[in-house]
């Protein structure tokens, strides 16, 4: 059988590992497509042939559920936000160092990590009302801006750290509300045994190990 999974871009590297593990285990095929959460939502509403949706937030899956398009919804990972920088920074000094510098983060309106970053900035004592950070489309772009030398700081997902390899990382655990990434088994996949199998695999310990290794926390 075959399952088509739509993945929020920030989870793509992890999803690729999961798909590999699932395929070796079952002989079934996994087709991965990715995009922003909002875009995938619009596509599903328009009849996209996706079986499972791994979103970057809990709002879109809830909205899909409200429209009766889902068979099951549950969290599959909790996002971890970190602050990357060129010079070492501590939680105490962060407010002073970061204010006025170039800080990249995903647009809070569009991306859950952006919303979390805003909360973290307040937690670090920055005045988000007056301070103007660089808002980009998603955490991947925030990382790119940092990596290309165009920002001194960036709020990014921990899942990107391996590829980003920044000089300094500040863990921000506890400074932002939980970033719940919900997955949903879509109603159109109710007949698809492979989809059901992957949905089950996503909750397995093997999957949990991969997700954790990819820089996410695990939901309860």
């Amino acid at each position: 059988g075959e399952v088509t999974i739509a993945v929020a871009s920030n989870f793509l590297p992890a999803a690729e590992l999961l798909a590999e593990a699932f395929e070796t285990e079952t002989d079934d095929a996994v087709v991965l497509t990715h995009g922003s959460t909002g875009q995938i939502f619009a596509q599903i509403v328009s009849g996209a042939p996706f079986d499972i949706f791994l979103a970057a937030d809990d709002a879109r899956p809830a909205e899909l559920a409200a429209r009766g398009l889902t068979a099951d919804v549950r969290p599959y990972a909790l996002g971890r936000l970190v602050l990357v920088s060129r010079e070492a920074v501590t939680r105490e000094a962060a407010a002073e160092m970061v204010t006025g510098a170039n800080v990249a983060l995903a647009d809070p309106l569009v991306a859950p990590y952006g919303l979390a970053a805003t909360a973290a900035m307040e937690g670090l004592g920055m005045d988000t009302a007056t301070f103007q950070p660089i808002l980009v489309g998603n955490v991947g772009q925030a990382a790119t801006v940092f990596r290309t030398g165009n920002a001194d700081f960036a709020f990014v997902a921990a899942s990107l750290l391996e590829r980003l390899d920044p000089p300094h990382v500040l863990d921000l655990t506890g400074l932002y509300p939980e970033i719940r990434q919900d997955g949903t088994l879509l109603a159109r996949a109710s007949e698809n045994a492979t989809a059901a199998a992957f949905w089950a695999f996503l909750g397995s310990d093997a999957a949990a190990e991969i997700i954790a290794a990819s820089g996410f926390d695990l939901p309860e």
């Binding site: 087709v31 995009g35 875009q39 619009a42 328009s46 790119t144 590829r163």
Partner: protein
């Protein structure tokens, strides 16, 4: 990761889009170039409109327009058993929309520069209006054809916002090379992004150079 399906799909999409769009744009631009109808400026304006919407937004509306709930999408579904969105056909339709201005406008400019008197001369020599179009107007306007085809082809290769929205990035079906490069950048896989971009640039550069060099010896009369 085998890139071949992605490259092949990209080239197919660009080629088919260019062919269909030229087939439509040629008569349309010709008509626009010759008509004295009042409606002309309106149609010219409409032709340029696909440009002003951001690709993702254009994709969003096309998604709505072609979804199985829409009349068009429903018709397609009942006729073919497949949805129009997330299919190659859907991509082609979307590409036709967003590349329309690049095909029509250079053609119209070129057609307007072909003197009616030359066409009249061909008519008196036994050419039907259709024959005169192919034997006189087209060769004289060939710089416009070249520009239209190059802009359409290249833009179809480079566009990804619409494609991503309408096509859904499905390997072998709707995943094209621009999305592949986009993904590489978004996931910080810069090495892949560099390689793919460089390949695309070098390939495009070679093709375009050959095309322009071939066109060179002709060129509209300048003396």
């Amino acid at each position: 990761m085998s890139l071949w399906p992605v490259i092949s799909l990209t080239l197919q999409l660009a080629a088919i889009t260019t062919i269909i769009l030229m087939a439509f744009a040629i008569p349309f631009a010709w008509w626009l170039a010759r008509t004295r109808a009042r409606i002309r400026p309106l149609l010219e304006a409409v032709t340029s409109l696909p440009l002003v919407l951001p690709p993702t937004v254009l994709g969003f509306y096309l998604l709505i327009l072609m979804s199985p709930d829409s009349p068009l999408g429903a018709l397609w579904l009942s006729a073919t058993g497949e949805t129009l969105t997330f299919s190659f056909t859907g991509l082609v339709i979307a590409s036709l929309f967003y590349s329309l201005p690049f095909a029509v406008q250079p053609l119209q400019t070129a057609f307007m520069a072909v003197p009616q008197t030359t066409i009249d001369t061909a008519r008196t020599l036994g050419a039907t209006s259709r024959d005169a179009f192919f034997s006189i107007t087209m060769p004289l306007a060939r710089r416009g054809f070249l520009t239209a085809a190059v802009l359409t082809f290249a833009h179809t290769i480079g566009e990804f916002g619409v494609i991503l929205m309408v096509g859904g990035n499905i390997p072998g079906r709707t995943r094209v090379i621009s999305i592949e490069i986009f993904t590489a950048v978004e996931t910080l896989d810069y090495a892949t992004a560099h390689v793919l971009s460089a390949g695309l640039l070098v390939f495009s550069f070679l093709v375009l150079t050959v095309v322009y060099a071939l066109n060179r010896n002709g060129g509209t009369r300048i003396g």
